[in-house]
């Protein structure tokens, strides 16, 4: 048709009709939320995670919330509920010997891997040994394992070189070491990158997934606890952008999503349920407490003065008072070892007096290493630097833009003080960050008191442990290697229809699966 005869009016009319049709069909389609969100037993659960999986091989994958990519398909030996309680999963019973070095697990009978192979002690032993040799980043959580034995078909014995009472905790669904891989997968570990071989409620479907974008898991027909399988399939969508996560959960595209304090306010006003739990504890880690780089830091009075300089309430309220708590001690509220009403609070007069008596009335210059990934916009670091300036400590913030870059810099022993969050479900687990070489103890210089207390916590059992944990909290503040400031919450938005999503300070990362149907996520009936 010649251009000159283009029927403009007809074209416009056609366009209008097309737009109208598109709009009305769109309304009717998204109004029902589409098949993605058709929850309830037999439907699909669509959930969000902010990052891509480190690996779909449990031995190389991530821990904490990122364990969702493996926990859906791999049952763990022990299961941790939202309240932090440890309940049976593949192991129906477990116990330590009196020295906390020999852990004996009794395995569930009649469980099969998704390829049909039976679960027995030999398979569990092989899986644990593979984890120890695979070279994954979470190897340290396996503990000081000396040996793994399978004395009978349903008994596994893990012997640790030193007491390791946290052993059962790290055999739960949040840590790769606890997730059991089948013999077929172990025979060809590369296969675990694109297929799963566990006993879990779901199996990974590579054909229905898009790597780094959307991961689909389908019901495992041979799962040992079918009553706990609430869905035909579970989809984990990788959504890193906070506003996109909020939009997705608000419009029902996903039923569960991690939020930031800012997006949490909008989510709440949209009628979504919020599940929160303290997660990170932020503060200043005085890596150079020996004074190698900055001599002043070797003086405990100086470290105490720095601890007294921080205005924690102002910081917590600036970060969003609803989801952050001022914290003057090693652990967040709810963690074993946390002492109510205890901890550093701001006292500038006392801080200045300590600085003067330590010989630094005019303060000193302090390089502080931080990153702007977890500490968004370095808000926390800058607030703490501002407070330290009030007692004359002139902070020079060195900001790294990626976590690996931060880690490399921290390990270089060039930075006396670091800003890096710590976590743990007991004060001893948090203390481990400061008494074992690593990012938060790059100089590897242990304090005898804290090291002794850490060892004591590992050897203690029952109620005695809590007493030691509390001693750790106090000793940590006295030594002031770690100067706590604020505990920030994990915040999740949950579709009003989704039940059983719980979190606590002991378990701040809800996961949808549980061998016990009382804890598995499900839609309201």
């Amino acid at each position: 048709m010649p251009a000159s005869r283009l029927p403009t009016r007809t074209l416009l009319a056609a366009l209008s009709v097309a737009v109208l049709t598109l709009t009305t069909t769109a309304c009717s389609d998204t109004g029902s939320n589409g098949p993605e969100n058709s929850g309830g037993p037999g439907g699909t659960l669509t959930t969000q995670f902010a990052g891509i999986p480190i690996s779909l091989n449990p031995a190389l994958g991530g821990s904490g919330g990122s364990a969702i990519f493996t926990a859906l398909a791999y049952d763990s030996l022990i299961h941790q509920t939202g309240d932090g309680e440890l309940i049976p999963d593949l192991a129906t019973a477990w116990s330590f010997d009196p020295t906390n070095t020999v852990l004996t697990l009794t395995l569930r009978q009649g469980v099969k891997f998704s390829d049909g192979a039976p679960l027995d002690a030999a398979a569990v032993k092989a899986s644990l040994e593979y984890f120890l040799s695979a070279g994954g980043g979470d190897l340290r959580y396996a503990g000081p394992v000396a040996s793994v034995e399978a004395p009978s078909a349903d008994t596994v014995v893990i012997t640790y070189k030193t007491p390791y009472p946290d052993g059962p905790y790290y055999l739960t669904q949040y840590w790769g070491v606890g997730q059991v891989i089948g013999p077929k997968g172990l025979a060809d570990p590369d296969s675990l990158l694109t297929a799963t071989d566990g006993t879990g409620p779901y199996t990974y479907s590579a054909s229905k997934s898009v790597t780094n974008s959307s991961y689909t898991y389908e019901k495992n027909p041979g799962y040992f606890a079918p009553e706990a399988q609430q869905y035909d399939s579970v989809v984990v969508k990788v959504i890193g952008d906070p506003s996109a996560s909020l939009s997705a959960v608000t419009t029902g595209q996903v039923s569960f999503a991690g939020l930031t304090p800012t997006t949490a306010v909008s989510a709440k006003s949209s009628g979504l349920k919020l599940v929160t739990a303290p997660f990170f504890t932020w503060g200043l880690t005085v890596a150079d407490h020996q004074g190698t780089l900055v001599p002043a830091l070797a003086n405990p009075d100086v470290r105490q003065a720095m601890a007294l300089a921080l205005d924690r309430d102002a910081l917590a309220s600036a970060l969003g008072a609803d989801y952050n708590q001022a914290n003057g001690q090693l652990t967040a509220e709810g963690v074993d070892g946390h002492l109510d009403g205890y901890g550093f609070t701001q006292d500038l007069a006392e801080a200045k007096s300590l600085m003067a008596s330590a010989g630094y009335p005019d303060g000193f210059t302090l390089p502080v290493l931080t990153e702007n990934v977890l500490d968004n916009q370095t808000t926390i670091s800058q607030a703490m630097a501002g407070d330290l300036a009030k007692i004359g400590v002139k902070v020079e913030l060195v900001v790294k833009n990626t976590v690996p870059d931060f880690i490399q810099a921290a390990l270089s022993k060039q930075y006396p003080v670091l800003v890096w969050p710590v976590i743990g479900s007991t004060s001893a687990q948090v203390l481990a960050n400061f008494v074992q070489p690593g990012v938060t103890d790059p100089f590897g210089t242990a304090d005898p008191t804290l090291t002794a207390l850490y060892a004591q916590a590992q050897a203690a059992s029952g109620a005695d442990r809590t007493a030691v944990f509390e001693q750790i909290t106090k000793a940590s503040n006295e030594a002031a290697w770690f100067i706590p400031a604020v505990s920030t919450d994990n915040v999740f938005a949950v579709d009003a229809d989704l039940q059983n999503v719980t979190a606590s300070a002991l378990n701040p990362n809800p996961l949808p699966v549980s061998p016990d149907p009382r804890y598995a996520w499900k839609s309201a009936e």
């Binding site: 000159s4 709009t23 979470d138 780094n212 996109a244 939009s247 608000t250 790294k400 690996p404």
Partner: protein, 313 residues
């Protein structure tokens, strides 16, 4: 024309090699260690060293690049160091998304930009001023920001379109189109205003020519003058601008894909860059380079179609 295409294609091989080497070089400057990224904060230095060795990161850069290039020549783009997937498979899975986004946005930019520009040139007055103002906004507002506003308005407040995600064409053409309306709108706004402004200026220029006056004097209908004569002549500079806009859309697509959580090449390369997944970054880099080359060849061919003088050269 055939020679032009042949020359361009030959040149593209050289360009791909240069572009991939530049990407390789730039990635080596990105701070952080891929092995450390993969293993996380708790990995011991021994583990990191072991993985560095496995990944060949200890070898000199030219050797690493040579190994990659040799693989490419054998049709192997390598494997993702993180997921273990074939890079080619990752790319193939994501090309439809980015291609849909770019093709639709090019169409929208081309058609709407031309129409608005022409109408504004012919009618002038208020429409011209409105176009000037809108172009200013269109150019000043980043597609990322526009995307967030569009989601808030048309996906969350009024639930007309999905807030995130992509539906393949196989799920139904309507579903596919619905999932792309907002991303395409976010990606196209800036381009429409640029093309429209260029088209208006060129059309005004052509409308002022003597031959148009002669055509009018000969009693040719205005509509015929505009669409048959003015459009053809004014289209040439707009075509160049459209080509540049389409190439620039590639950058916009990276952001837009992240906001709308579209599993395209843009979001793939973003994730790969932050996690130092070099084979994936290189693979996507090659695809992007090829895309730029193809767009330029298409623009040249269209130029030839519209302007016989170019064909002679």
């Amino acid at each position: 024309m055939t020679r032009l295409i042949a020359t361009r294609l030959a040149l593209s091989v050289v360009l791909v090699v240069i572009a991939s080497f530049v990407i390789f070089l730039l990635m080596s400057f990105v701070p952080g260690d891929p092995a450390r990224t993969i293993l996380g904060a708790n990995a011991t230095p021994d583990l990191v060293a072991r993985l560095r060795d496995q990944l060949g990161l200890d070898r000199p850069l030219p050797v690493q690049y040579g190994t990659w290039l040799a693989g490419v020549l054998h049709g192997d783009l390598g494997r993702s160091v993180l997921s273990g997937d074939e890079v080619s498979a990752l790319i193939v899975a994501r090309v439809p998304v980015t291609a849909s986004l770019l093709v639709l946005s090019t169409l929208v930019i081309g058609v709407l930009g031309t129409l608005v520009g022409l109408v504004s040139a012919v009618r002038g007055g208020v429409l011209g001023k409105v176009l000037d103002t809108v172009s200013l906004f269109g150019l000043a507002l980043p597609s990322y920001w526009i995307a967030i506003v569009l989601v808030a308005a048309f996906a969350v407040a009024v639930r007309v379109f999905p807030a995130t995600g992509y539906r393949p064409f196989a799920d139904g053409p309507l579903q596919w189109l619905l999932s792309l309306v907002l991303p395409v709108a976010a990606l196209s706004l800036g381009g429409i205003t640029i093309v429209a402004k260029q088209m208006r200026d060129s059309a005004l220029d052509v409308l002022a020519r003597d031959y148009v006056r002669v055509l009018r004097a000969s009693g040719i209908r205005e509509r015929s003058i505009v669409f048959r004569h003015v459009l053809r002549n004014a289209a040439l500079p707009s075509l160049t601008v459209l080509g540049i806009t389409v190439v620039a859309s590639l950058t916009g697509a990276v952001f837009v894909e992240n906001v709308f959580v579209l599993p395209g090449l843009g979001s793939l390369v973003t994730q790969a860059t932050t996690s130092h997944d070099l084979p994936v970054v290189l693979g996507v880099g090659v695809v992007f380079t090829l895309f730029v080359i193809v767009v330029n060849v298409v623009v040249d061919v269209l130029y030839g179609v519209l302007n016989p003088k170019v064909r002679v050269r």
